[in-house]
């Protein structure tokens, strides 16, 4: 029965891409509106699950339970403030701007070091031509992306930038098109498997 609901709703939405018929378009919009609403409810269910997992860690006094307690405290304070005063109130924005944003940005900044370490180790650990091509191309792109060591209008720098653009906008672009086509084919087939009820992630 659930498969029938998934297939039926999917077919109507898919037909709307190709058929300009009033009834289909209207039904399509209704189904998508319900889906958007249910996605928000599902987000709430996910948050509830997060809360229960860490609550059980605190109640069972498992290893690292103080951090779980901190998480629960931060979650409840932020949620209550946002529910009561709204997410665009000053306190919620303070919490966002001075806690969430700097921490997340710092986590992303750590990536610079780890990516550099990974680039350094790549050739020494994977000695194959493709790894060498990977690192050499990356070096060329970085050389062409960053500022010039000398004059920015020097021939060398101009040649370097043109080489960088040629690699990025021709070689990589052609490869990216192939990857995009492959990704689109895969995504389309995966979606069709769901629409044909071959895959049933919602259960039987």
């Amino acid at each position: 029965m659930w498969a029938a609901a998934a297939v039926g709703s999917g077919i109507f939405v898919l037909l709307g891409y190709f058929i300009d018929y009033e009834v289909i378009l209207t039904l399509r919009l209704i189904l998508m509106r319900w889906s958007v609403l249910l996605a928000a409810v599902a987000l709430f269910l996910g948050l509830f699950n997060l809360l229960t997992v860490h609550w059980s860690k605190v109640s069972e006094q498992e290893k690292g339970w103080p951090f779980s307690a901190l998480l629960i405290l931060a979650f409840l304070v932020t949620l209550i403030m946002g529910l009561v005063f709204g997410p665009d109130n000053q306190i919620s924005l303070l919490l966002f701007n001075y806690i969430q944003l700097p921490i997340e940005a710092s986590l992303m900044a750590l990536l610079a070091v780890f990516l550099a370490v990974a680039g350094f180790r790549l050739v020494s650990r994977r000695r194959d031509p493709f790894s060498l091509i990977f690192v050499v191309v990356a070096l060329f792109i970085l050389l062409g992306t960053g500022p010039s060591l000398g004059a920015s209008d020097s021939d060398a720098y101009i040649l370097l930038r043109q080489l960088r653009n040629w690699i990025a906008q021709v070689w990589a672009s052609g490869g990216a098109r192939g990857i995009l086509l492959g990704v689109a084919l895969g995504a389309g087939l995966t979606g069709l498997r769901v629409l044909l009820a071959v895959d049933r992630p919602y259960g039987d």
Binding site: L29, N97, V117, F120, R125, G146, P147, S152
Partner: protein, 717 residues
């Protein structure tokens, strides 16, 4: 004449004798072309009628008596064979059937002597003897004359047994049994009656009614008690029993002196027939030669039958003959068996004797699939009742060495469960490489930041405008100012440091042109990020308005692009002067009904999936509205194919700090991009050097690798 010694009883017999005169065993093997035997054997294979069975029964009774005397099988063990008997018969009768008689000593199959045929008048079919078989009586007469001369234990004259029939109406054969009735006891007729007398004697067919004949037929067996010789037909009967039930001729003339007796016996036969059908117990007989007894004997209750005294005597002897084997074996001399017979002897381990309990004593099976049946092997307690395994009664003898080995094995197994402490030498691996690279990188980006290079110092600024930037400039410059610009903030707060820097000049350019900006996001944090960026270049409510959060990923994008006003109903951080909580009520959006009503779409994202989603979903609905993408440097390669097409789906791309710096230079404004330029240069230089060092290090490792490693890797390849 040379004598033939009987293989069973070791008694001497005439040379031409086919069967032993004492025990009835065959002296010469059966030959197929022998007419009497062939006929009899042929008849034995035919389905017999009841009347034929009666006849066979009648002729075999004497033979059975003899066989029973020799047999070691108690009557009680004969029961399983009851299914082969059409009519049940007492054990003693069954044993009678076992007697092996030669064809020469009895009438051919289907033929009954005249003296017996009188008993079978009311019984049924009678097989007519063939003319060529009339000589058998002569042969029998000769043989009996010979035997009578040698043996003292000869049967009485015929008249004697007939006299007994008249005198004793009820006689229970008490001593009729293999253990008691010996061939010597069998009253062999001392004088062979006249041929006509023999012919007139009737042997009734074998059937339930046959029993009626048997008592009368057994009447001559009273000679056992009186040691009277049985008439010749009695000698003949075992042979007939072996091959086939001979037919009783209906037209046999009885001698006058026996005719009355026959009538009396007939009456008793009738009486006997009526009572046996319901009352005769079914006593299965152990028949060694199944061919000899193809008939089925009915159950027989001798108590209900008025039998001659000698028969009663025979019957009384039946219960006592449960284990006749020993006595018989004591009476019988050991036999010298021919080789062919020896080969036929069952193996020693074969249990030829099956003790069968009586029906009353048999236990009814109560468990298993055979529940309710009698006479079956009991399932309990061996199978049905589960029981715990018992310890072997035999004690296991273990030597000292074996015991020690078992202990050692047990100790080894126990050690497997024990946790052993980890190796004491513990090497702490410090992330030196991470420390070095991190230190270098932080120092590299910190120095320009700390040293505060002024503009123009440090790394040189970009001196030419990239092709992509020129296209973007054109797009932004050509959009009409009366329609708002839709800006999608689809990046995580972690990328705010880069994308805020890169998108800042573009948004500033848009606002500087007087265009209004409408923001939307599929991320929960998109609206606050938009507020943080746009608040630097404009005023909320005047220059920009936040429509809010789109929940549902690609579905929400498709819904928004298809029907924007019905998708988002609540804005974010709306101006206080707005009554409604929906951003669509803002004056900025008063003329916007669908996606194509926006003058420009700007998607700011660091995710290739998000960028691809907006391109795919918005492309059919945006119409002539240009789509511009502000991308992170790592995302640009995957979105460029949408841009590098004959009919591009993306009309402009802005990516990377150098492009932002150039943009700011074009605008003539100093923004965050310029502030990061020197640090960016230093950082990029450091990273380039790190990568170069990694390439050199890897190449050096590969060039100067040990030869053993190379050889091993070659072998593996």
């Amino acid at each position: 004449m040379a004598d033939i010694r009987c293989p069973m009883c070791s008694k001497s017999n005439p040379e031409d004798a086919e069967i032993c005169g004492i025990c009835g065993a065959r002296l010469k093997p059966l030959v197929i072309d022998q007419p009497p035997q062939e006929q009899l054997s042929g008849q034995s294979e035919e389905p017999r009628t009841e009347q034929g069975a009666e006849q066979e029964e009648g002729l075999d009774w004497l033979g059975r008596i003899r066989a029973e005397a020799e047999s070691e099988v108690p009557k009680d063990e004969i029961e399983p064979e009851e299914t082969t008997d059409e009519a049940g018969s007492p054990d003693w009768l069954g044993r009678l059937r076992e007697v092996d008689i030669t064809a020469d000593e009895g009438p051919p199959n289907g033929e009954v002597p005249d003296w017996l045929s009188a008993f079978s008048e009311d019984i049924g079919e009678v097989r007519e003897p063939e003319g060529e078989e009339q000589g058998w009586l002569d042969r029998i007469r000769e043989k009996n004359e010979t035997e009578a001369a040698e043996s003292e234990e000869e049967a009485e004259p015929v008249d004697d047994w007939l006299a007994r029939l008249r005198e004793e109406e009820e006689l229970v054969p008490e001593s009729l049994g293999a253990d008691e009735i010996t061939p010597e006891e069998f009253p062999l007729p001392a004088e062979i009656p006249a041929e006509e007398e023999v012919e007139e004697q009737v042997i009734s067919p074998i059937e339930p009614m046959d029993i009626s004949i048997e008592p009368s037929e057994a009447a001559p067996l009273e000679v056992v008690e009186d040691e009277e010789a049985l008439p010749e037909p009695l000698d003949i009967l075992p042979e007939l029993t072996e091959v086939a039930p001979p037919a009783v001729p209906s037209d046999v003339e009885l001698p006058s002196e026996v005719e009355g007796e026959v009538e009396e016996v007939d009456a008793r036969v009738d009486e006997f027939e009526k009572s046996i059908e319901d009352e005769l117990p079914h006593v299965p007989a152990l028949i060694l030669d199944e061919e000899a007894v193809g008939e089925q004997t009915p159950d027989l209750d001798l108590d209900s039958i008025q039998l001659p005294g000698w028969l009663n005597e025979l019957r009384e002897t039946t219960p006592q003959e449960e284990v006749p084997g020993e006595d018989v074996s004591q009476d019988l001399a050991p036999a010298t068996l021919p080789s062919w017979l020896e080969a036929m002897r069952p193996i020693e381990t074969f249990r030829s004797v099956v003790e069968i309990e009586s029906m009353d004593e048999q236990v009814v099976e109560s468990a298993g699939p055979l529940a309710g049946l009698q006479g079956v092997l009991m399932a309990e307690p061996v199978i049905a009742i589960p029981r715990a395994a018992t310890v072997g009664a035999a004690r296991l003898e273990v030597t000292e060495r074996q015991y020690a080995q078992a202990e050692l094995l047990h100790r080894i197994v126990e050690e497997e469960d024990q946790e052993r402490p980890a190796a004491t030498v513990r090497r702490i691996r410090l992330p030196f490489l991470r420390w070095v690279i991190g230190f270098l990188l932080i120092i590299a980006v910190m120095l320009p930041t700390v040293l505060s290079f002024k503009s123009g110092e440090g790394f040189p600024l970009p001196s030419y405008m990239p092709r992509d930037l020129g296209t973007l400039f054109s797009v932004v410059e050509e959009i009409p100012p009366e329609r708002p610009v839709l800006t999608v903030f689809d990046y995580a707060p972690g990328y705010a440091g880069e994308l805020n820097t890169v998108a800042g000049p573009l948004l500033e350019h848009i606002i500087l042109r007087g265009l209004k900006v409408v923001t939307v996001s599929t991320q929960p944090t998109g609206s606050p990020l938009a507020e943080g960026l746009l608040s630097r270049v404009g005023v909320n409510g005047e220059n920009y308005v936040h429509l809010g959060y789109l929940s549902g990923g690609s579905t929400a994008v498709q819904l928004f692009t298809a029907s924007p006003r019905e998708t988002i109903s609540r804005g974010f951080l709306l101006p206080d002067d707005m009554q409604s909580q929906s951003g669509w009520q803002s004056p900025i959006l008063q003329d916007v009904l669908q996606l194509s009503d926006f003058s420009l779409m700007v998607v700011i994202t660091a995710s290739a999936d998000s960028a691809r989603t907006w391109v795919e979903q918005a492309y059919p609905w945006k119409g002539e509205t240009p789509l511009v993408m502000v991308l992170s440097l790592g995302t640009e390669p995957l979105i460029r194919p949408y841009y590098e097409a004959l009919e591009p789906q993306v009309d402009g791309i802005l990516t990377g700090l150098p492009a932002a710096v150039t943009y700011e230079q074009y605008l003539g404004r100093s923004g965050d991009a310029l502030a990061l330029w020197n640090a960016f240069g230093a950082g990029m230089l450091t990273v380039e050097l790190i990568l170069l060092a990694g390439i050199i290090y890897g190449a050096a490792l590969w060039l100067f690798r040990p030869s053993t490693v190379e050889t091993r890797s070659e072998h593996n390849d």
